[in-house]
Symmetry: C2
Subunit: 185 residues, 2 copies
């Protein structure tokens, strides 16, 4: 249990003791559900988002905009962006970010498929929505260079979070917010 993310020794013990207290049928149902989920859920062969079908729901949805493609690091990011209901285009999940320290190079990610997909489908815009960490920046710049020959490449804005206070923003964020200023419309 301790190997699960965010579970330390104490939580692991609590979970284990809780499971031991439940009736056997319930524990079997949980075990079965885990096995089935692992069996059924794979990656969409178009965008690499988690999916129980060969092609995921978002890729199959014909009412979505085919001309904008949003590139994210992880399936979690797709879920976060879907919650905003702002983006109506399609996604491409990289499966991580370039991180030489962790042995993750461009080959370990779905970058090759992305380039193939963009050169074939010719979207009007590719939005890079990758977190602004050092690895995220590297990945953004790397993919930007690869895709620029095919299409317009944009990246999401960095600056003050909404509801945030200037005073509490760190200096780098504040500098980015100043640098990224735009004309009032």
């Amino acid at each position: 249990m301790q190997r699960l993310p965010g579970v330390g020794p104490k939580t692991a013990q609590r979970l284990a003791l809780h499971i031991l207290k439940r009736p056997e049928t319930e524990v079997e149902a949980l075990a079965q559900a885990l096995i089935e989920a692992k069996k059924k859920i794979g990656l969409c062969k178009v965008c690499f988002h988690l999916s129980s079908e060969p092609v995921c729901e978002i890729c199959r949805n014909n009412t979505r905009d085919n001309t904008t493609l949003c590139v994210v690091a992880d399936s979690r990011d797709v879920i976060a962006l879907e919650k905003t209901r702002e983006f109506k285009g399609k996604y491409h999940v990289l499966g991580g970010v370039i991180s030489p320290i962790d042995g993750v190079g461009p080959e370990q990610l779905t970058i090759q498929s992305l380039v193939r997909r963009v050169s074939k489908d010719q979207p009007q815009e590719v939005i890079l929505a990758i977190s602004p960490s050092v690895e995220g920046e590297t990945t953004t710049l790397y993919i930007g260079q690869l895709l620029r020959p095919f299409t317009k490449v944009t990246r999401i804005a960095f600056g003050l979070p909404v509801g945030g206070d200037l005073e509490y923003a760190d200096e780098v964020t504040l500098a980015r917010a100043l640098e990224g200023r735009r004309e009032l419309d």
Copy 2:
């Protein structure tokens, strides 16, 4: 003591007891320092930033760029922006944001002086660096409308804080980050 910001009953008691324990001379020195600070520190008559002189150090500094003016709500924001070392122009401190609930209208702020200053000095750009709260947005739009006849008006960027993770960003921030996306350069 309880009236100080961030000081609750317990901290107030701790502070009071600490002061009672100190030698009399020390307490007198603190009291004197408070009175003097209150007497000496006023507002700069040009930008309304805190200053011990009639005109503050930033306004007097001739090496600073006179063509960009950054409008902030509070003196704290000037200090925060100065720490980034990114901005080399001058400031204008509003003294708050428009908030009808708290009885703060445009007349209670230094907006009139700002309009006069902009129409006289004709800066090339006015940057509105006001926190993205409801009141902050109102203030930004209000000032934007007043100043647009005189000069270019921009606002700082809103989006993902640097080092932040897409997954942990709230939906409104994520939507703003998407909306404010810019072409990769």
